[in-house]
Symmetry: C2
Subunit: 316 residues, 2 copies
């Protein structure tokens, strides 16, 4: 995918905007603008469905731009044969999710394709929000010494979708962490926390997103394995199936880069929303090239590289 984007899509479109290492565009008019297509399979999974995923995903992309989510557009591509009751459940979920985030779905479109030409339902949501902070969070603002925070535990969305898709029989329930994070971002800003960079670790997980931010900022990141918030069931499934939770998709999580002196205050605010919020690492000099390093409980360090293939396809 990285290859397809960098070698085919970006050069062909000749837009400087798309080269920005960001989830959305910041328009001169104080607006953030972001779009995502959702092709998750299956359409419904423990903890969410394609509808809530699409609303929260776009809300979160706006929040990551330092914007208050305001308006959404909703485009549906239905495959003939999608059960009407399922469509109804998903539409209800969209409406509930939008209400929860106080965003309005102001325009939309619906297309249908013949059986076998789609996969039940694809959703594209596009969001518009008003920028809350100036300058907005951006990878170029990351500085040596910054603390790296996360607002909760890792890896549940990826595993919940996988378990549902593969019909894995797990001992306990494993729910996606699908949720909006805009309220947490606003609370941090209101408390005067300087949000140097924000990013939601969705596809590719925390490791892939940090790898991208290290390249964009020209700095290295040092993570502490003992600080990573992990639920027991995620740890157990990862051990059995050989997944690394750092590469699993999350949906209601974000990474925040804040100045070290503000780290504790920021963490207290995040813990107010979710007691599992944690500082997972810090920014260091790049020596000699930007890397993401993970320190194990035994003091050893390994470098987190980009995975060459997609660990789990159609996770969002």
């Amino acid at each position: 995918m990285q290859n397809l984007l960098q070698k085919q899509i970006f050069p062909a479109l000749q837009s400087d905007w798309l080269k920005a290492p960001h989830d959305g565009a910041l328009l001169a008019e104080g607006l953030a603008f972001t779009t995502d297509s959702y092709v998750v399979s299956p359409l419904e999974f423990p903890g969410g469905d394609i509808g809530s995923l699409a609303v929260f995903g776009t809300v979160n992309d706006l929040a990551m731009c330092g914007a208050r989510p305001r308006w959404l557009s909703l485009a549906l591509i239905l495959e003939e044969g999608l059960p009407l009751e399922q469509l109804q459940r998903i539409l209800h979920s969209i409406q509930q999710a939008a209400g929860r985030c106080q965003v309005e779905i102001v325009t939309g479109d619906t297309k249908t394709v013949e059986r076998g030409k789609g996969d039940g339902l694809f959703i594209t949501t596009t969001g518009l929000g008003t920028l809350l902070s100036t300058p907005p969070p951006h990878p170029s603002r990351i500085q040596t010494g910054d603390a790296i925070l996360i607002n909760g535990d890792l890896g549940r969305h990826g595993l919940a979708v996988l378990a549902q898709r593969q019909k894995l029989e797990l001992e306990g329930p494993l729910f996606s962490d699908c949720a909006p994070v805009h309220a947490e971002v606003e609370a941090l800003l209101q408390a005067g926390i300087e949000l140097r960079c924000l990013r939601d670790p969705t596809r590719g997980g925390v490791a892939s997103v940090l790898h991208e931010l290290a390249q964009a900022s020209g700095l290295s990141f040092q993570l502490e394995e003992t600080c990573l918030p992990l639920h027991e069931e995620v740890q157990a499934v990862c051990e059995i199936l050989g997944f690394d939770p750092l590469y699993l998709a999350n949906e209601g999580k974000f990474l925040a880069f804040v100045p070290a002196p503000q780290a504790e205050a920021a963490l207290q605010i995040l813990k107010h929303f979710n007691s599992e919020a944690a500082q997972i690492g810090a920014v260091t000099q790049a020596s000699p090239t930007p890397t993401v390093n993970l320190k194990s409980p035994w003091g050893t360090t390994r470098t987190l590289d980009l995975l060459s293939g997609e660990q789990l396809p159609r996770i969002c």
Copy 2:
């Protein structure tokens, strides 16, 4: 589709915005916001492709709101196996189309689905534009006596896609009319023409769009069959295959409702862009219910109803 939207989708989403008989949302901030998914089959056809169609379609939806198109988002859903050369051609076409319309593609997303779970390529474009006229064009502003203008000939997009899909062997070439219309709208506004309502007759053609506007305005429309601009080859294919050009999709066309005293001035401006522009009818009182009537060359009148099925699926 009408049924699905009115009975399932709109009620479930509980958004007053979506009930508006409009192609886009007018945000209080002087912005128009519109989205469309494109699932046209085949992906390339004489006169255009899914890429130019998506850009021009969204540009035109913004123009129909009385807005100047400014920013686009672009979301691609690729099916595994789409030839890279074809993707390259379509991306190039997107870039060219955006340049022609002076809009910037500022953000995007790409997802892939397995072979058999899509149909080559689906595109969702969302547009943002700045409103040019106050009040903006709207069905509620249509008045008895208004002239109904069109900016050129009818039915070419629908037939061009159909001919390509069915591999019809036609004597002459039949090209889609796929094109942007924002420059024409701006020229009308700059000349002081009061644009009471604008609408692009895409899916369902001129008849379906006028039927919807009659319901929304509570007025009737009288069309003159002799005034409808039709290319010879469209007329010929319609006669052979039994299509009515009033129900065929157009892509570079729009209907403008203007006050009768301004009709001639408006028409001269439209003819500057396309000599086939014409006044095709006028607004009359609803008696007793809003209808769209077509007067034939022989003086007889027939009512244009909504078609119950979709005449041509996946035309855009």
